[in-house]
Point group: C2
Chain length 322, copies 2
């Protein structure tokens, strides 16, 4: 089945989740409501709900907790995006002005707080302590990751391990939990939940590395924000880390990163240097390695329609160009 | 028993709660740890833990959930303070630099997120759904209140009702929940929990109104921040609302609030106008009225050592001068 086929298959569930998302963020407050609503409507692929729905197919996918889990995970994701934009000082996301750009940092802080408070409130209704514990421990680790992100900004001396831990906390963890919690809340066998966690984790790592590559090699139109935004915001991602290992580029990159006076031309030069170096293919290789590990996990899962769907998702992630 | 006596009586419990607070905010991250630790050490009166401990005396005060509840409530309080300082652009709190002043808004945002994530994680361990639901609904309402606070800043046309709703969400709600949850988690009778909620609510309203009065009439030394800070930050509190009703002051207050060019002398003049007007005694009257309602609730509680302690706390709140 293709990716389109997966979405078509889940359409009824996804529509219900979408409706629940809209109801959940409804607030009797114009600015807040508009900020949260715009964020919801800016879309995204609802990857986390899709992962929850697919993994719930290993258990009783009709369990009333499944949709609630999907809504909660998407809300946590949305809340973290709004706060991330403050950290990154980002003006655009998916071609739309961010909350902090449209209003200000304070509104962004509180919109995030509000959406997150709604998610916490939903979590309360989860049955069983396990899903609860997994999710709240995950949220705690994500909040640590966001702090680390501040600390690592403009720090070109960080090592690969720090980068990998950061993207785990930023992306892979919530994807891993989406896969695992779909299984847990539908009553699937415990070992299936555990394996799905690792599938989500490896896939999420590959996904984020690809994202970080695309930030260099895609066009502004495809990205919905200027190419090279990560680097300009001081966000040192994998292509930059690999480029820094190349003596002929290192000094120039460090010079621009450390300068308070770097012009747009300086940034463009450095972005272009990285984009045209072997840092890109090295990054692609690492992304590919994570994806292979994700496929490996799928081999240990029962032969099941959901397993085939997960394989399709991995195929999509391996091929995506923006 | 005097207030000192109450603290002395609860000393062993409060020490344990303090230790749990320290352990809970420990983070393997220097800036975050320092920010959270300083915040913890800046102290405060640990009013919420005291309220939890006292209300747990109506049930089984040895229940393992009681201390956890106290820690959770104090963490939620701490997290909200850090985010409030961003909203209010506050430089000082209790004589110490705020997190946002010492570092910046982003660190403050993430320190708050981190402390709050820890609180959510602790909530997970609560036994029984009731405490959970009460607390998460409360957190959601607090987050709405914080948004309203932004909306109301510098808005001198707001009415008394908006002010009262704002201080409910900012202060009274968490005090009310502290009283109620101490009863709930110790297995006290349901009607006791409900009454204690109202005691905490009325007392919290009185407490915050007094706080807002003291911001005008106390000295910088007593407050740990310049007098009149609320007004300068655009925070329209009860004394200002009453002063705005007096024709001879209204125009001058509005002029300064609406001006982008108001000097320090302008602010001092307006603060002094309000401080020396009958707005202060009118505010004191309303604070007193809430306190009377709090005493009234205590009359319907069982004759119990805790009831007497709550009365002492109400006496203290009625008399406090800074």
């Amino acid at each position: 089945m293709s990716l389109v086929g997966i979405y078509k298959d889940l359409k009824r569930d996804l529509n219900d989740i979408e409706k629940q998302l809209e109801l959940t963020i409804a607030a009797d407050h114009p600015v807040l409501y508009k900020a949260a609503f715009d964020l919801l409507k800016a879309g995204g692929k609802r990857i986390r709900p899709v992962l929850v729905l697919l993994s719930s197919q290993y258990g009783d996918k009709k369990s009333p907790s499944v949709h609630k889990t999907a809504v909660t995970l998407e809300l946590i994701h949305m809340a973290s995006l709004v706060h991330d934009d403050v950290i990154d000082n980002a003006e655009l996301r998916r071609g739309k002005k961010t909350v902090k750009a449209k209003w200000d940092n304070r509104v962004a802080m509180y919109t995030g707080d509000f959406i997150f408070a709604r998610a916490v409130d939903l979590m309360t209704d989860f049955e069983g302590a396990e899903a609860h514990q997994l999710l709240s421990a995950g949220v705690m680790e994500m909040s640590l990751g966001e702090i680390e992100q501040i600390k690592d900004q403009y720090n070109w001396q960080q090592n690969l391990r720090r980068y990998l831990l950061r993207i785990k906390r930023k992306t892979a963890l919530l994807m891993a939990l989406s896969c695992q919690l779909g299984a847990v809340t539908s009553g699937a066998p415990a070992n299936v939940g555990k394996r799905l966690y690792y599938f989500g984790y490896f896939m999420g790592m590959s996904y984020q590395i690809t994202d970080d590559i695309l930030d260099f090699v895609s066009t502004e139109k495809q990205l919905g924000k200027p190419a090279g935004s990560d680097l300009k915001q001081g966000n040192i991602t994998l292509p930059t880390l690999y480029a820094l290992k190349q003596p002929e580029m290192r000094d120039r990159i460090v010079q621009v990163l450390e300068s308070d006076l770097a012009t747009d031309d300086d940034w463009q030069e450095v972005i272009s240097l990285i984009k045209n170096s072997k840092a890109i293919s090295l990054s692609q290789e690492l992304s590919e390695r994570y994806l292979m590990k994700a496929y490996q996990v799928l081999k240990d899962l029962p032969d099941h329609a959901a397993t085939r769907s997960f394989r399709q998702i991995a195929d999509y992630i391996g091929k995506r160009k923006y």
